[in-house]
């Protein structure tokens, strides 16, 4: 994954750029150039259409620029705000289009998630287990799915998840473990059915 933790000095340097852009929108260009690709890929993995991902990314930056005067520094990276806007735009797109929400994952990521929720006595084959896991994921709400995607399918840290979801790091951890626990229960229920 291309994202990395930003140090406090990097976050503050970015905040200085934001302040300049708040005074003159033309100075938003460095932030746009820096964050376009990560935001594009973030949307693409949830939409799976290149052109549409491009359009939605443009919309995210357009909204960010329009609402830039409302942005205030809270010690979080600027990208967290952009990811938040992107998530809202993705949700709005799926609400309007009534399409199935795309969830992209790698085999390794699914395997890690499968191992995390595995019961000790479970002797199922891995492939079978993963198939059942995908069926169980279907029962998760949109918000729960966002946590699973961020943590397992994109391998983000709890700090990053907390920044994007606007909760504390501890809260992000608790929520993720609760979702895993719920997923485990759904899986057992489906196996016994």
């Amino acid at each position: 994954m291309e994202t990395k933790h930003q140090t406090i000095s990097e976050i503050e340097a970015e905040w200085a750029l934001v302040q300049k852009a708040q005074k003159d929108p033309a100075l938003f260009a460095p932030l746009y150039n820096k964050h376009f690709k990560p935001i594009f890929l973030f949307i693409f993995r949830r939409i799976s259409e290149e052109d549409l991902a491009g359009d939605l990314t443009a919309l995210v930056f357009s909204k960010a620029l329009y609402n830039l005067h409302k942005y205030s520094y809270r010690g979080l990276p600027f990208s967290a705000w952009l990811y938040r806007i992107a998530l809202n735009e993705i949700q709005a797109y799926y609400r309007q289009s009534k399409k199935e929400r795309v969830v992209s994952f790698s085999s390794e990521a699914l395997s890690i998630l499968s191992q995390d929720i595995r019961e000790e006595e479970n002797t199922q084959l891995q492939e079978e287990r993963e198939q059942q896991l995908l069926l169980s994921l279907e029962d998760l709400s949109e918000e729960e799915m966002v946590y699973i995607e961020l943590r397992f399918f994109e391998g983000r840290s709890f700090k990053e998840i907390a920044d994007i979801q606007q909760v504390t790091e501890n809260n992000a951890k608790v929520k993720t473990y609760r979702i895993i626990d719920r997923l485990r229960k759904i899986l057992i229920r489906k196996q016994n059915a």
Binding site: P25, F28, Y32, K37, F40, S48, L65, R101, S104, F105
Partner: protein, 90 residues
Amino acid sequence: MPKYKFQKKSNDPSDEFIRSKMDFNKILQQQQDLNNYKKATKPLYKNKFFLGFMILLGVICLLLIFDENDPEEAPVKALKDSVVVDSLKK
């Protein structure tokens, strides 16, 4: 109907493709257009000059109303009128 469509992660679009989607000038223009639109469609009551004018008009109207109904002036006027009538009689 299923809520989610699970799919194995496909290859990310190339850097050239992503770069082709970048257009900062368009974003800037959109923002400018949106600002202009908001400015053009701003309701009259939110216009500070219009609001100021209305307040001023209200104050003037109130002054005129109170000026006409001033209770202290009424007896003076009546007194003046009676003086005029008396002088005419004389």
